[in-house]
Amino acid sequence: MSLFIRKLSQNNVKHVVAKHYESQTLIFSSRKLSIVPSVYDGEKDPAPKFFSKNVQVLLKRLTRPDFAKVFRKRKNTDLPVLRTPIYKFLTNEQLESEIAKANKKADKLLQMPPIVKIQKPITDVLSKDPALVGYDTSKFVFTDITFGVANENRIVVERDPDGTLQSCDHEIRKRLNQVYFPIHGRKIKEPLMFTDTEKFNSLLERQEYEFILDRACIQYEPDEFTYQKVTSITYQHVDINTNYNLLRSTRHFGPMTFYLTWHHNIDNLMLELLQSGTVREAVLLVALRHELQADVTNGDVAQTIVQQILPTPVQLTKPDRLTEEDIQLDNKCVECIEKYIVSNSAMKSQHELALQGFREYYQHLIDLSRGLQKAHGKVSN
């Protein structure tokens, strides 16, 4: 099947492939799973929504960044061996500025790969000269290697044996860009892990999601069909197996959430959030859905709650103490989620059950923290 894709893509008719893919429901099959990839190829363009400030903020918050994980030891660095650590004596102000720098670095590390519409084939004939027929049996490809031109703006043209001079399609452009201006880590030939279905499935089964997604980011452009196919299969695999925690604190969680929301498939994620007791993030997810699809009945309420949630710190672990403001906010969140479940959820009973479990746990926590406050002599209303 992958052969089929390659053959088609060689003919530069990716757009057709995408259409073909959906209509015929060619299934990316393996022993266990059969996932139909869905790409961003409809009439609606996801880019403006994805790059809008509201959505970016929501996606970043949903990533739940844990610095211990963001700055973990990575396998795919350029360091062949470890280095001796460096130590510094810092004052409070210096430490704060260093931490601010680290936050910036974390933002960079967590920068999400863009989500854009699938690219259109380039068909731009510059000139036709039938008098050149017979000059050569192979075509000439000309690349402008002028210094300081971005890859996407580079002039790459081809002279076919029939004398036509035309701009090259994306595939040839990408190849020649890689030949003359190599990107570190990108291969001219597609790696086997993407072309060989068996190898790809074995990676999925081993839950090497981050490796797949990182490599896909390097190997492909975000508007390529193959990129969107690979990522969509991976996201769906994560969703089916509820392995969200493997992608949390990485730059791929946001695009995954966006993908699931865009394709009306957030029920699993919502269930996971409710079961893990993070109602605030559940509200963020509802707000995200309202932002993208605008089909949530109490979407405006969710969006107002989001404004209150965003200034609070990220909850990495379950809290053991609660303040009155926390309790108020969480109660609002629970109400919002209740309405959402009634009106928009596709897995009503399961969501209800999870929310009920959270309520019981939360009531216990409230009693505990209020009791503690009482014991400490700080009696509140």
Binding site: L126, S127, D129, A131, L132, V133, G134, Y135, D136, T137, S138, K139, F140, V141, F142, T143, D144, I145, T146, F147, I155, V157, E158, R159, L165, I172, L176, V179, Y180
Partner: protein, 133 residues
Amino acid sequence: MPLPPASGTGLYYAKAAKSIRLIRQGCTNRPFFHIAVTHRRRLNSQPVIEQLGSYDPVPNIYNEKLVALNLERIKYWLGKGAHVTTPVAEILGLAGFFPIHPRTYMTAWRNRQAEFERLAKEAEASENAQTSS
């Protein structure tokens, strides 16, 4: 030993005539050309003033001949009055940067003619074979 920089290492005399030409690199049985600007009276084996591109005459696996052109620098040298040799002019013509060089048309015509003759000969031969049998 690192490669010499693309800016070239050759001596530059402002008033001497320049030429943009193909300079054969590669090895035995494997030609590869640099498109470079150098003094007109200088040998190809000597250091050039600047490299402006490359041309690989051997088709790759996709049956393409790859040409790289630093159009900005080519324009600069043309503005300086550099002479362009015929092979380079042909390449630039095919790229759509220059008008097609007459020699390209001549070669194409000759190739077509040769092909036509070959086909005619073949047809004749097959006819003869049919009549004799």
